[in-house]
Assembly symmetry: C2
DNA sequence: CTAAATAGGTCAGTATTACTGACCTTGTCA
DNA sequence: TGACAAGGTCAGTAATACTGACCTATTTAG
């Protein structure tokens, strides 16, 4: 196998259409938590260096994230078109169904969008009676959100495609893999989010 | 405790009204594929229903996907703004870097967008000299793509944030979890894509 | 009781991404 | 030579999401 160093960026081309391996590594393994981590921070360019694997491994993660998300969203996006709705509507439906009676503010903190953004979506869903709202029992400024029956039906229809995808993946890979998946996904979150998300993910709504 | 969330400029208070807990019961994995398929189709409203666990588990996966992707893209999106570029530019840069010398058509098949969509992005990147192209050596209709030095620098800068996120997650969870993560992510792909993606993910640029 | 803060909505303007459809050039190949 | 493939381009549309400014009810702190 030919591994070509690419220092100039120019010489690789022409002759090697699809063969260029990129040994641009370096880095990453962390801001050094201990001595072991330190060792991998050492500068190196050699393809023989185990660091290549590191970088390679991390890029695999990045790519899996891209590919999985791409396929994961595709089917329900198709379904949404039939209702003249978009992915944002699905997200809102999903999380309203997941946390019945939650406030608009809570929904915003999950989706991390602006209220102007959610506003359009919520308006559509309210108008078409997929969602209903009531003011909060204690604080009447709040608008608490619920799916209507109609909304529950739609939400299930949309989510089922994704659930089935997960069911297939989980079945094919087994319990240990699923546990690993769960851990890594939680590990990818912003640290500040983890506890909240872990709680939300585990303990349904309410 | 007040958690201040101001990622997107809006003042989102974290009113966390819904902390309730559903006991996280251990997962039930029957090897029986048929029985499991049923579970996602069956109405599972009652917490007493054992199928509830199944549905619950699958929804956890869906949510982890949402949350992880949300946080995974956030940092590099911020960085991209400084260059007046968008996420689509990053994706193009990433995959051109990953598969140097690939054709436009190959890039399209990875991103799964239309050529009109990629066209704008590629035009920007070519104009700003992050990317360069050459016609294919055998088939001169093809345009093969490479990152320039400048493009490589930018791509690394953008990708590093994501790599570091993965590095942290991998470090915190360990090799077994990573392997499980990888398996599940591959399992989420459209079956028709798996072999290709697995190949692409493992063996850099072929 | 009043003032400030909070929950939520709304108007206006902009940017990005991505789509469909039509049409074009260049090049390959049977 | 003619069909077809790779790629580009023009035009129009839609969805998502952003900033900024301003508005109404309510709640709450001093």
């Amino acid at each position: 196998m030919l591994i070509q160093m690419q220092r100039r960026g120019q010489n690789l081309r022409a002759s090697l259409p699809f063969r260029g391996r990129f040994p641009w590594l370096s880095m990453v393994y962390s801001a050094a938590a201990n001595a072991e981590d330190m060792s991998v921070m050492v500068e190196t360019r050699s393809p023989a260096n185990p660091l290549f694997l590191r970088d390679e491994e991390l890029r695999q993660g990045i790519e899996l994230m891209f590919y999985a998300y791409r396929d994961f969203t595709f089917e329900s996006d198709q379904q949404l078109k039939r209702y003249q709705l978009g992915r944002a509507h699905h997200r809102a439906l999903y999380f309203i169904g997941r946390h019945p009676g939650q406030t608009v503010g809570h929904l915003l903190s999950i989706l991390k969008v602006t209220k102007q953004s959610i506003s359009r979506v919520l308006k559509d869903l309210l108008e078409q009676q997929y969602v209903e709202q009531k003011s909060g029992p204690r604080d009447r400024r709040e608008r608490r959100l619920w799916l209507t029956e109609k909304g529950q039906v739609l939400e299930r229809e949309l989510t089922d495609r994704q659930s089935q995808r997960f069911a297939r993946a989980y079945r094919e890979t087994g319990a240990d893999a699923v546990e690993g998946f769960r851990k890594v996904m939680l590990g990818l979150l912003d640290p500040a989010e983890r506890i909240e998300v872990d709680k939300r993910v585990r303990g349904a709504g309410r």
